[in-house]
Amino acid sequence: MSELAALFQGFAVVLDPFNLLLICVGITLGVLIGVLPGLGGANGVAILLPLTFSMSPTSAIIMLSCIYWGALFGGAITSILFNIPGEPWSVATTFDGYPMAQQGQAGEALTAAFTSSFFGAFVAVIMITFVAPLVANFALQFGPPEFFAVQFLAFASFIGMGRGSPFKIITSMMIGFALAAVGIDTVTGQLRLTFGSIEMLRGFEFLVAVIGLFGIGEILLTMEEGLAFKGKSATINLKVVVQTWKILPRYWITSIRSSLIGCWMGVTPAGATPASFMSYGVAKRFSRNGERFGTGQIEGVVAPETAAHAAGTAALLPMITLGIPGSPTAAVLLSGLLIWGLQPGPLLFVEQPDFVWGLIASMYIGNIFGLIIVLTTVPFFAAILRVPFSIIAPIILVICAIGAYTVNNAAFDITLMLIFGVVGYVFKKLDYPLAPLVLALVLGDMAESSFRQAMLLSQGSVSIFWSNALVGTIFGLGVLMLFWPLIQWAWGRVRVAKPA
């Protein structure tokens, strides 16, 4: 199969000493980021992105995606040892992971978490290897109307599958679009929403918004809990690892099921967080020990971790094939691609095969290296968390400020970062979801230009969106998703009205 040949080509690109070094550095940085509060996956990748400007795009994306891996692994460490989820998708890991640590089984829990993550990511990478070229081929038939329809579907599914008030989801998303519109309009060259300010001419830089919303906002939230991190200690030695590995194969059904849940949810913009919760819930229902979930069942760690990693990895599939990121961190990687002048989408496979297959090959290697590195360095990272918050917090804030500045060499961006931080804090507390905002901010310009190009093709007629079966289906699905909450609400009222 040509995919395997291309994959081996990718391996050849990756197995270069510099790139291998980048993989190790990337994973270590990533775990560090995943472990520290305020430097989450999206934020950490955003801060480190400008540092990669001097590298070739292939090396850069390899390092950044390994940082992403590392952060995925790292989130489990704080969940299990400190009952603090390092990432939103590690929340479900705390349910059984922390009880296990409390019972002195921290080493087993960590090993189970890392190995499950490895397995989930591995399944997802295999899926990407074989499915991505198919999707890319298929997407080569896409024109502007189809692209806009896909983007519309992506955003509509936030509303359809989101929890909480759909109005808040819509507001959040539209704010992202509005911010994306600030600056020079690419089609007509007019200035929009700049209010005469030179600083606003540049528009809102996506990375700055991410650092503010996810980084500063996170730290402000953490501050509410005070300044103490007290955690359980863990020793991972070879004996514990091997013992756990002997137990894990018992849960192979859970692992496979969770991987599939993760792959499916990761590809849609829903993302890794719902995948981990859903997988935990399903495992609880189907497991023999379901009632004991929550007291320290190892299966309760396997299910969410496998799903979260499978989802996190699968989120890269729509990003490289269609240009639609499946998660905020994938959105940051996407903006990196744009900065390097690469056009994500089906043509990327055709025009830059080295880049794409190098990235995919690095996912395999990064996954393996990641597992090894993370199993061996847990005590080190756990020790870092014992550094008092009053030392770590200002250092993280300074790093965020540096990160915000280096995007465009503009001090104004640091002020913007702070403003976004306050917004992120308030929004998180009021349940305004941040993921749609961030995705709208990165895709806003693209979505708008797809729309306008489609309009140019159709001479201003909106009917182009159902002019052929492909566009019509995608657009129709989007409309269905958009009104899904309304349909559910109406259905609920109808059922209540009928006395059963």
């Binding site: 539209m174 509005a178 519109a181 030392i391 200002p394 400020a401 507390k429 729309f451 140019l456 001479q459």
Partner: protein, 173 residues
Amino acid sequence: MQDKSTANVNRGPSTGAIEIIVAALLIGFGVVVMWDSARIGAGWASDGPRAGYFPFYIGSIIAAASAVTLAQAIAGARRRDKKHTAVFVTLPKLRLVLSVLIPTAVFVLVIPFLGIYVPAAIFICLFMWRLGGYPFRKSIPVALGMPIVSFVTFEKWFLVPLPKGPLEAMLGY
């Protein structure tokens, strides 16, 4: 003796009040977006939408959706809904958050004038001293260490320039 701190522990602005304020602000934001879009032209030109078309409708959706949220928040507050009467942030927690936010704001505002290295050192030092209770002899090494490490990493290694102020200018950078 009941001191003020225990009485304050569970008081703070209610979630409902903050919801109303935020929703109202967002309606204002939406209206501003609509107004500026209308100014540059939000209609349909001969070959497609004009520059203000998209932002105009985006602004109107923000205003409309936030109006619904506002109505829901007011209704919830009237009904004394649990979610709305719950405290948004208790005063002690708010103090903790502000104790980070305000120094950070000062730090950020000072950067254009003093560069990033000097304010960072002062920021870390003061933070460790006020909030961590560390004596100066412990906080100064860390506070100096971080900017120096950053300088070497960013300026020398990655060749990424960071804002510099009068001190660095005196030192020849």
